[in-house]
């Protein structure tokens, strides 16, 4: 899997594919546990919080598998993960506390791909900067741009997954991108130079 976006678009394609059998929890954890963790990391921006969220997602999957209808398994996991994350953020907004996590070590972001040697340093830095810029976005905008740009979901799919109106999806994606644009401008221009 070269990227998460490719992963989900391939999975979305399986919506029209032949029906699959309902996997066991062990199969879901073994084959998709890293996908859930990676998504959780993008959403929370912290290794510890990502472990916590991904773990809770896997526990929820254990009881929810009985209701799973074969189709897009990663889409289903994505829905559970983003909704659980969103619930937590709403809970945190109602019961504000100090942030639990400090800035993480960039070394924790370990891409599974293998970039070419000549651009690995530049793109490695860009990946870290993008992750940091994402982490600083308000969570509604972060969810919107992640689902659209990284997981390549359509506006309708995002609206259905998050229970948002289409206009809200459109607005949050744009505002998220506009904020990211401000933060990433020096790096994007540098990488293009």
């Amino acid at each position: 899997m070269s990227s998460q976006g490719a992963s989900l678009s391939r999975d979305a394609g399986s919506l029209q594919a032949a029906p699959e059998k309902v996997p066991t929890w062990e199969e879901v954890a073994a084959e998709h546990g890293r996908f859930v963790y990676s998504l959780a990391y993008r959403l929370t921006g912290s290794g510890a919080d990502a472990e916590d969220l991904a773990q809770d997602v896997l526990l929820r999957v254990r009881t929810a598998l009985a209701r799973y209808r074969p189709g897009s398994l990663e889409g289903w996991l994505l829905r559970i993960t983003t909704n659980l994350f969103y619930d937590r953020m709403r809970h945190r907004a109602r019961h504000p506390t100090e942030p639990l996590d400090d800035l993480e070590d960039p070394c924790e972001i370990a891409p599974s791909g293998s970039p070419s040697p000549e651009d690995s340093a530049l793109h490695g830095e860009l990946r870290f900067v993008v992750q940091e810029a994402l982490r600083l976005l308000p969570h509604q905008f972060r969810v919107a741009v992640l689902l659209c740009d990284l997981y390549q979901m359509s506006y309708e799919e995002i609206a259905s997954t998050m229970g948002w109106r289409l206009g809200t999806v459109r607005s949050r994606i744009h505002r998220g991108r506009a904020m990211l644009r401000e933060r990433l401008a020096p790096y994007v221009e540098a990488s293009e130079a």
């Binding site: 976006g5 954890a29 546990g33 990676s38 510890a48 472990e51 773990q55 860009l126 990946r127 459109r170």
Partner: protein, 147 residues
Amino acid sequence: MSERHPRGRELSSSLDGGLPRRRAEAVARHVETCPACARELAALRDVKSALASQQEVEPRPGWLRRVQEEVAAGTRPSSTSWIRVRLRLRLAAGIAAAAAGLVGVGLWLAPPPPAPVSFQDEVRQHLVQISNPLGDQTSYVVEARYP
């Protein structure tokens, strides 16, 4: 230049195929002839590309196996956030107990509060002399000291 400038979110949506066909065509025509909107669209496209190029993040080695083993064993995996919350609660309780102790010791060591002083005593403390040099009943000289 054709038509009005599209809104920012229309430019964003045009990248995602999220506009109705006729509006998408109008935005595309406008961008072809408007350098400002073309720059804006290019910047938004760069952001989208930067996000799309993010790769999967690996968990710490052993994390997934630990979750699998604990779930298989029927024990709920420990939540790192809850551990941190519990530690914070313990720390807060410790600080509160220490503060209460300090207040208690302070009250015990502090001198007792002075007894209330009447108004007359207060006046007497400052009064030096009242005289009636003219001998009448309307002229008095009052000498008092002030702290």
